[in-house]
Symmetry: D2
Subunit: 410 residues, 4 copies
Amino acid sequence: MDLGISDRAAPLIAAIKDMIAAQIAPVEAEFAAEVGKHPDGRFALTDRQIAIMEGLKQTARDRGLWNFWLTGSDAGYGLTTVEYAYLAEEMGKSTLAAEVFNCNAPDTGNMEVLERYGSAAHKERWLKPSLAGKIRSAYAMTEPDVASSDATNIALQAMRDGDDYVLNGEKWWISGAGDPRCKLVIVMAQTDPEAAKHQRHSMFLMDMDTPGLRILRPMQVFGHDDAPHGHMHLEFKDVRVPTDQMVLGQGRGFEVAQGRLGPGRIHHCMRAIGQAERALELLCERAVTRRAFGKPLAELGANFDIIADARIQIEATRLLCLKAAWMMDTAGTRAAQPWISMIKVAAPLMALRVVDEAMQMHGGMGVSQDTPLAWMWTQLRTLRFADGPDAVHRRQVARAELKKYVKDTK
Amino acid sequence: MDLGISDRAAPLIAAIKDMIAAQIAPVEAEFAAEVGKHPDGRFALTDRQIAIMEGLKQTARDRGLWNFWLTGSDAGYGLTTVEYAYLAEEMGKSTLAAEVFNCNAPDTGNMEVLERYGSAAHKERWLKPSLAGKIRSAYAMTEPDVASSDATNIALQAMRDGDDYVLNGEKWWISGAGDPRCKLVIVMAQTDPEAAKHQRHSMFLMDMDTPGLRILRPMQVFGHDDAPHGHMHLEFKDVRVPTDQMVLGQGRGFEVAQGRLGPGRIHHCMRAIGQAERALELLCERAVTRRAFGKPLAELGANFDIIADARIQIEATRLLCLKAAWMMDTAGTRAAQPWISMIKVAAPLMALRVVDEAMQMHGGMGVSQDTPLAWMWTQLRTLRFADGPDAVHRRQVARAELKKYVKDTK
Amino acid sequence: MDLGISDRAAPLIAAIKDMIAAQIAPVEAEFAAEVGKHPDGRFALTDRQIAIMEGLKQTARDRGLWNFWLTGSDAGYGLTTVEYAYLAEEMGKSTLAAEVFNCNAPDTGNMEVLERYGSAAHKERWLKPSLAGKIRSAYAMTEPDVASSDATNIALQAMRDGDDYVLNGEKWWISGAGDPRCKLVIVMAQTDPEAAKHQRHSMFLMDMDTPGLRILRPMQVFGHDDAPHGHMHLEFKDVRVPTDQMVLGQGRGFEVAQGRLGPGRIHHCMRAIGQAERALELLCERAVTRRAFGKPLAELGANFDIIADARIQIEATRLLCLKAAWMMDTAGTRAAQPWISMIKVAAPLMALRVVDEAMQMHGGMGVSQDTPLAWMWTQLRTLRFADGPDAVHRRQVARAELKKYVKDTK
Amino acid sequence: MDLGISDRAAPLIAAIKDMIAAQIAPVEAEFAAEVGKHPDGRFALTDRQIAIMEGLKQTARDRGLWNFWLTGSDAGYGLTTVEYAYLAEEMGKSTLAAEVFNCNAPDTGNMEVLERYGSAAHKERWLKPSLAGKIRSAYAMTEPDVASSDATNIALQAMRDGDDYVLNGEKWWISGAGDPRCKLVIVMAQTDPEAAKHQRHSMFLMDMDTPGLRILRPMQVFGHDDAPHGHMHLEFKDVRVPTDQMVLGQGRGFEVAQGRLGPGRIHHCMRAIGQAERALELLCERAVTRRAFGKPLAELGANFDIIADARIQIEATRLLCLKAAWMMDTAGTRAAQPWISMIKVAAPLMALRVVDEAMQMHGGMGVSQDTPLAWMWTQLRTLRFADGPDAVHRRQVARAELKKYVKDTK
């Protein structure tokens, strides 16, 4: 069980760190400051934003720092999930890096759907430009009116009508759908309410500009709209999608959804580790430079304990994420499932604690626009319910545990 | 030790609840939606905002629901702190109520400074219109460059020059200073760096439009600027203040600051209790109406335990706040000091936990603009360092405790 | 809502403190050291133990410090539950005090059963000598083979046979049944498995030496047998009890059990508060006298925070207990029920945390026979399931909360 | 960084599991029941105890299951620390296994001292019989009168007198010193109070029956004396030790102490992991078989969450221990130091939480003599201060972390 940094991964990590430090970090503030300057509003990219991002992407492509997430694939580096995990951690420390290296969510998960389950036509139309970083995509699962943590509740209707399905309903928290470059949306819809519980739903691919599909509003995360990426509230009103834009076939929506989620959750968790590391760094820098009562903050009160606990929790949680990645690599998605649920609970909680302590060490500055901590915290907080709330993942872990003792625990 | 609702307080609580439910709550969303519509920006009040607020204030005055915070005073109701605490709890459940009843921070603390320590001229110029709700005020203590948790660090300089003091430096997190109706700012400045530790600072009263005083920017709280109230970053550049606008006298800044903080912290804590109650209400409503896995959320997982712990913690913390208020009423500010530090640690932490669980019960909706929970959480989070970070208050509590065992613990 | 120390209670508290300090505490170690010296084993009292205890009881009776727990009664002081709570806190700091003042569990609860529900004959036979401190008693509810947290599970059978009931089954954790002075045992048994859920059980009074009733063994609490008091495992083999030794009537066992538990839980919780206070005292004494790294322990690491949190939690929890007592006094057992469940969860958890920190501050000494801390911790740990485990009480609190929102939550 | 079970370790783990299940576990209760039956008291071994233990040891030796702890050595298996860690975990699940396989504390640490630092004569006299399992040994560091967490405080005096040192003072918590087979005690004593801080102490080897060395009493751990192993309070009164029984040389006590502690702490932590696994097993078995309110306990309240959190914490902590072991194997004791401090904090805390939940799931039975849980809990609780209290280890972790930011943090 080798959880270390491989010889293949080491130079890639170094190159990513280097490019983030030298080229990406220096322009992050400028990119953020552009938000809202376009006359069309916050969800339009300014020329300057386009120039920054496309320039960085070109550099990344030129340096071969691209599409690392394609684990176990002939395309790209063919990294293992463990190897990629270390890269994801580094990217988590920067607000722009994941996109620069074409490794951003939800696009990577969407590309995986296309690669694993898409038809040749689907691949040509959407996977190719996605892999090239030409378009972006969104994944529409969550709905406002049902508890989407139990995905069998998904209620957006898709009714067969000739060669089309006609979709009606609402989705919200559709991340990335605000971006004007978002061209594809993958939609889970109910195609047969009478079918067996896990065969009721199907997965559709459709263009963002399909008639009847409308952005109602951006959802806010503690007051952030995360423009231009955005988490959009969408309305589907008689949206017609041809049957050949269905993935795999009617009733196979769950199969696609399950296949999509494993790696994405590991990536999220490793980026959370990266954010926790960045937060601890800021905490320590503050602790050794800021003084009160005649001493550096580091030497006051419980601060040694706070720093030690942060370090302990980061290390333990990183190892757990790496083990989940290793399970994915060696034992497959199904066997890795409880491990992914474990890190999905553990990593965001841990990172939130570390960021919270880092904020507290900074006083008012910690919640303000002057550090990335408040932004980190709000991002991380959404991870506690995105891709399934903690309670659902704990339930999965517990059921896997109890299976050892009894056959039929519900 | 009567910590209950007195016969005098009961009808006031009822009247406040009634006015919030019938008149204030219905217009809160409209008031918030006006932010940013004024051509001068987010920190200007629109005509509609003025109409809403002044209308409500007039109603409050007409109904005698005004200036309750004047505890132990001949003016107003002469409520005890315990009595007022129950009123503050109710006001905490609404975003506008405190201002409607002229009980909003930081104005109440500032009015207390004027009443206790102000000269007749100070009272005429600033207290009278404040009590009438005609002007608002700010209190400028915290600075960006020093750890203000140790107030002896305060470094903004005030140099005597003839009949004036000349102030130079920066303050930040000056709440309420964004509001165009804010006319007074109370500033703590260093007047003699060579004096004994607690005699180095003095307190000044000055108009917000004093030349040289400039708003650099609004500070954001997790991305919220809390406009039009605002938490401003201020610059003082050769700001001249006549000596007769000093409170009490040179070197007595600490005395004023200490006198100001006790009641304000109790009010903050009781408003936090009110927010926790409101959050638990939202949590329970969601828990009984939303369904997953065939059951209402209330019956799933740890939700009974979460609800019970929230109820237990709210009740225990409310009682602790009431005891601190009772100490203030019966034993005085000095004896109440450790009690106030206790609730300053306990109440925000408790309320944050309850709001966090309420957010989690709502999934994505919980962090969005569709419930008040995200706003509550961000507000409450600042209470963990505003008026002294948790660590400083814990230190005070511990030192008071250890004094029983040893004479000279540092 | 007066939660303070009344004028009536103040001198009693002082007298109790005084007698504990002057007469009880000095002989506690000697009393404990006698355990095991009697040739009949650990559950026999030595002459010295009898001399100590009876001497102290005589003094207590002579000073009128006796039977305080008889709240709201003509007998004794007629104290309110709030008043008694403060006395119980003091008694909790000593291992022998509760018995000395005839206020020890489970006897007080048993006497309450006799007073409220007993016949004249029951009172003459068992209440009178109990009130006089001549005999002790036990209460037999919990069984080894069923989850007694759900009391409807109680399975010890009582079959009617002529003028007797014949009991068969086992009970365990029967506290006080080890004491040779224990003469009465109150037994809950199933009399009709076909009756409605809460009418299946009845309550019996019987002598400890009833034929067929046998002590199988003492249960240990983390290795302590708590001799001579003891927590016994009992066997009932064809034990015959005359029908007139049934309390209230067949099928009314739950009614008696419910009536019994409220005050007892408050007493337990207030004694836990007393233990937490005693532990914090030991912690602080150690913290100011023991030195490491050139400083008293108090000034190292997180110790200020630990002390402050202990103080905050003790104060908040005490107030919660007092409020529960006040509810019992003013609103009755039924309305007080959720409040009692709240403190039953909160007080032992809080006290365990404080004692745990006190142990940690003492290092090895803290878990040894050289401080009372290890004994306190083990005692307190049993409170988390005795009289209902935390989970059951949290369930009660949650259901009471949710009742406000929905009619029929299970 | 291979943290998995190696091909070499796998069959050893299987053999250990097998021997524990088939031969050791079945006699543990009988061995424990013998304690106290010897006429000389609890700290004498009965013939039956000797027969059991020596029989098991002979079997272990015959099967080659012996002295695994000799990591990186030519003697024995030459296992890595990572490999041994997995074995230690298994041994932690049994009360007798570690001794059966000659891998028990404190003997392994003492043998390491002898192997690394002992002279040829020391090895012949004490190491040889220790490796053969013929004698046992103790390690005497902690003292009653000083905070031994700061080892520079160690005050037991050793004064040079001719060819001897003369020792005077007390030690306590000397584990294993109660066992009649304990022949060697390694004693840290102060030889020069004027020397530099870390050169004041020296390490001595001496027979347990050296004149002047006396057992004052066994220390109790929550009422357990852990006989016949024991944690003894020792008195040294003019104890003469020849200079050639000093290890390494005068003033080198710290060097020896440091070298001794690393591996031992890893072993302790991995045994704690084993205990946590055993506790979770008991918890789950109870949760699926015991019923209340019409359901198995597993499906009630927060039990899914409790089980999931236990599983998550066990896995993360095990990985952290393995990483510390790997650091020891690949980077050496010094580099591994902060990692060892991390697990020394994390593993006992985690195991205590899991055992505590397992106790709670069992109700009264959980703290009684009927499960191993209470014994596990008390054992584990001592680990939070043995070999350095949590606070000291957190301090080490924090200082290692802050070193990255500043040169001279104290």
